[in-house]
Amino acid sequence: MRPEHWLFTIPLRLRSLFRRAQADQELDDELRDHLEQATEQYVAKGMAPGEAQRRARLDLGGIEQTKEQCRDTRRVNRIQDLMQDLHFGLRLLRKNPGFTSIAVLTLALAIGANTAIFSAVYAVLIKPLPFKNADRLVFILKKNVPRGWSRNPISPAEILAWRNQTEAFDDFAAYTESSCVLTGAGEAEEDPCETITSNLFPLLGVAPYRGRSFTSEEDKAGVQPAVILSYGLWQRRFGGEENVIGRSITLNGVSHTVVGVMPANLSHLYASPYGSVPGMWVSGMGLAAEHTSNDYFGIARLKPGATLAQASMQMDTVSMGLEKVYPDLHGWRAQVMSFRTNSSADMRPALLVLIAATTFVLLIACANIANLLLARGAGRANEFAIRNALGASQGRLVWQLLTESGVVCFAGGIIGVLLASGLCKGLAALAPDTLLRAAPDLAAGTANVRVLGFAMLTLIATTFLFGLAPALQSAKPKVIETLKEAGRSSLQSPQSRRFRSALVVSEIALALVLLVGAGLMVRTLAELIHVNLGFNPKNILTLRAPLSGDRYKEPRSRAQTWEHVVARVEALPGVEAASVSRGLPITGWSGQYFTTADNPIPPAGQVPVANYVIVGPDYFRTMQIPLRRGRGFNDHDTQSAERVVIVNEKLARTSWPGQDPLGKQLRVGDDAPWLSVIGVAGDVLSQGADGRIHSEIYVPVGQYPWLQGPQHLVVRTSASVKPESLIRAVVEQIHRIDKDVPVTDVETMEQITLESIAQQRMVMALLVSFAGLALGLSTLGIYSVLSYSTAQRTREIGVRMALGAERGRVLRLVVGGGVGLAGLGLAIGIAAALLLTRLMTDLLYGVPATDPLTFVGVSAVLGASSILACYVPARRATKIDPMVALRYE
């Protein structure tokens, strides 16, 4: 169109839009003028005035229709109609507060839940990782397929060989996790830290906020070590001072030069999802090709065009060469994965199950509202017939109905998005640490643009999903039929009834799938909570207090300090027993190779491994780990006495099957002294409540204080004393002995146990809420369909009763219809659940995905609630007074 054209048309459009009343008045005037003139003309031709007027009207066709056609030419009708529909829709919604609140509330809940879960899904699975060309970054661990081990850290020997002998990588970095005790200038504190190769940050493409990254010179062991601070530590400990760069700080008793500070928003998604977010990074990796200790994680950048598979194949070839030189590396192959796979680790199945569940809830909510709309649409048949007769096209009516459902949807959406913020916070409260680390925004409850976009899309899809079908149904022109029935409530068409039935059936089927999912998770949790951990987690307080620095260089001073601490803590009122250890059940398992005197040189690849736990004399009594054979440790197990060890039942069974383990000998490491087995302890779950039982080796603090010192204090309180109540007293006792010892990870053993099943608890809590919502909605759905159809059949039922049908018969008639729908829904639901629950096998523990008890149980619950939903309208039907029913209308 030419600009000149717009000169004429724009004012016209604006006038039509904003001076609509005037435009309509003028249209009325113009047509009335025409009618008057035409009538005059007919009268002039000799017609009677009445007849003349009628002819003039006939010539003009339907006046209202002509007017509507004229208005159509204004081209702004869509907007005007929308305004009008909105106005009308709002008025209708205000008039039906019951319908409105149910529809808006269910939608708000469904959209809120969807948006909240999507926030988590987005953060973990979709959001681009904040690194340079993140799609080419890979995380490198290793696996030992023959022995069934995976996600194992790698050794310097492998890092150097893979870096130097493969072609697939542009660059290869590594890091190792440790803890740094920061002393001097204020209270001592322990922070998780990472020792990194100097190329790590350049490889990731992240620049320091202040100062610089490490230089390759600083990679070498023996040069002045350097440290880079995290933004948080810099602010908290150093007050964000600029002059911190170049300053010396003492870490684990060694002086380090601060060379840089990383930015506040540095993502930790480059690291293992199980590692702690570091407070600082330390230089001086000093990788040596002959080291085979598995303490490292590899991070590499693939060459452009190189694939994971290629890299993996090249690394396997290198590994095959390595294992010939280093027997310790026998059977180990690289486990290369994309950053996304690494960072989303085991959250993916849970998140996918949850997003599927919320989608189901949304679908059920939509089906429910569609049902309510259909019922309302049928009630408004008269209105639509009259509108149609007055010139509204079917398309126009569909638009009107869509606008009305759009209003519901919009209201639901707004409330839903507001709810989502709260739900995100709730989700964060339930979420396991791994999820919180991958989705740090979750706790803040702030939705980002993409999440809001997702909510908007959901809204629009929802409007059409629940609005379109009822709109098309209701807007069908049935002018003659409807007007003939004149005021009588119109019977719903068989088609519409079938459609509503289909909606109810699908609601019930979807609800059943959700209920089965929730049921399986409840069973999983029940199994996990009642699983025998091998010790008694009640009334145990644990904390970590690493002794480091000059004062504790001597192993003896460490051992003595612990002895003093334990003695003081045991003297506290309410304490039953206390002990020290390095390593706690549930929190993790790190394998050490060992050999037995009966089998001193096992073939490569069959060297047994066990968790190596250093414990104080009263450890077993404190944890209440039963001793099956032999004796526990005591104060006589010192350096000068015979070297002793306690093994768990699993190790005894696998190393000396059918023999008496007492008196047998084993050692950890080739040059280590032989240890005599003096006792057999019960098995404990060292990897978490859902983990497997592994071999364990317990050695006494009194004989090994020089290997690695113990770090954990475990305190058992008497049954009447809450372990949390002793925290202050215990920490005070430690600080009385040395005020510089940092105390961290203060937790009860019960908290630790719960954390290990946090993901299952989150999924269960959410699925149970979703399933509850689904149960309520589908029950409401079947109730509304049945009460509506019963109301419509009032006359029929009245006639039946007048003709002698008994109440029982009427009851069966009505309930029967509903039960048929429910039965069909249950059958489809069970079939779908059998297919779908298999996808959640990864989340289940101790219960098969097709657990018959769960299936039968939830079907019974849903069936019972459906029958109840049918019974209420059915009872109402039996109360129908035939006389009233027949006189009705």
């Binding site: 000149e4 054209h5 000169l7 004429f8 048309t9 016209l12 459009r13 003028e26 249209l27 005037d29 113009e30 047509l31 003028d33 025409h34 008057e36 003139q37 035409a38 010539d59 003009l60 066709g61 339907g62 229709q65 002509t66 056609q69 004229c70 159509d72 030419t73 204004r74 081209r75």
Partner: protein
Amino acid sequence: MSKPSDLVQGTLDMLLLKILALEPMNGFAVSQRLKQVSGDVLQVSDGSLYPALHKLEQEGWITAEWKTSEYGRRAKYYSLTRLGRRQLEKEADNWGRLSSAISRVIKIKEA
């Protein structure tokens, strides 16, 4: 409600533009003039006349103003705009070409 299906698509617009090109007039007068000049051959119902006029107005080809007629009643008078005149020329040209082409075809003698 009958649509001018007996009129060639688009010709109603051209006829209305032509009629209004002669002098500004109101809807009733347009309807009378249409019947008069076409000798009742072109059956344009009053019901489709007004939507057509409004469409031309919205296109910017004709403009309307309220005037008092010779009988003393206020009526909406339509008149052609500059754009409308150009449109009329274009459509008349097209029509001329089309009708002469058709008449040439019709006049072909049967051999």
